[in-house]
Symmetry: C2
Subunit: 221 residues, 2 copies
């Protein structure tokens, strides 16, 4: 049995930094992406996000949770004004720059200049990508939902295009995140690489699960 | 530059398994939690979730995305009927059992029996926890949002209580996920352990970032 027990009132009685760290760690490892946007007047903006989630594959949809009244305010404004934005995977090569992008810069300062990350534009999307990111996803704003309990917003977008390294993509569509050097978040400030265990075959009742090496396709569904 | 480019129409033209795998991998590493519920008549249910996100620390809120028309239907029904549910961190010791919980069992079959995971009840919450999980979170249903684009649902709950191992908790509230053996998801069927890089100090404009060892507190804010 675990040896510490916190009730809601005990959580609320903690000092703010302790509570923030603890609650931010509870969900487990977090995806890390840099959201890149541009304002109608051409100011670019980056925000480090640790709450990007898969929403659906057909149509291809991604979601992300944001606090409108704190850091990524410019991000939401730009997304609503321009209709498009990009998500760029955080890899080992850029996680320190991505972390720096979470500082509260004034709107006139582009986090591209502040962090040293490089903007890159495709032929079809108005928002910039992060050139150094191994996986670049261009999205069109689809819908948003206000979480009444604390005024955060879930933004959902549809994938318009994506760029990724062929070497990391299996013939069954599996993208090897360790091979890409993808970084996982731990709470607000912890960073980890992935150390592969295995892939597992599709689970069915009364059937044992097979282990599938990462370099093989999973054809059993 | 990455060497593969997919447009939306090229994504939609792929075969379904390829598209599902690819789009599910794009967000990066995923948190893995087993959601445990109980029906009014006492049937317990487990569902493996890879889309649990932090929503807020004060009040402590967590969100999770679910497809009401596919696997975790019983989960949503039980949450709405009982008002409470638990999230249980997937560790290396139980990730194969957690994967098996994603099979489509009929409602009368408890995934506890089917997977060999053990139900455990606290003194105050009606829903069962997964005894083998290192971090156990008891939640009360708060609100839900229907994602119109594909009929998925975001469920938000408030933390009522939690259980965790004291040894993994730092004095600043940081919970070391690698030390807990937490597992990160890669797409639908890939599993990784975390390999610690470092913690980074709070980012501020015009200030360099410090690396903080995982066994030290981050006191610079």
């Amino acid at each position: 049995m675990p040896d510490l027990h916190f009730t809601l009132s005990q959580i609320l009685a903690q000092e703010k930094p302790f509570r923030r760290n603890l609650i931010n760690c509870l969900s487990g490892f977090k995806s890390l992406n840099v959201c890149s946007t541009i304002s109608p007047s051409g100011h670019t903006n980056l925000a480090l996000l640790n709450s990007v989630i898969h929403v659906g594959a057909n149509p291809p949809l991604m979601g992300m949770l944001m606090r409108p009244h704190t850091v990524p305010r410019h991000t939401i404004e730009n997304i609503e004004a321009m209709g498009v934005y990009t998500l760029n995977m955080v890899s080992q090569a850029i996680y320190q720059e991505a972390h720096q992008a979470s500082a509260r810069y004034p709107q006139e300062v582009s986090e591209f200049e502040a962090t040293g990350l490089s903007p890159w534009y495709s032929n079809s999307l108005k928002a910039p990508y992060v050139a150094e990111s191994p996986v670049k996803i261009g999205l069109r704003f689809e819908e948003k939902h206000l979480i009444a309990a604390n005024d955060t917003q879930l933004i959902v977008g549809k994938i318009e295009e994506l760029f990724l390294p062929e070497a990391a993509l299996g013939e069954d569509g599996f993208l090897n995140l360790s091979q890409l050097g993808a970084v996982a978040g731990n709470g607000l400030d912890g960073y980890h690489l992935g150390q592969p265990l295995t892939r597992l075959s599709y689970a069915k009742p009364d059937q044992t699960i097979d282990e599938i090496p990462f370099d093989q396709s999973n054809r059993r569904e």
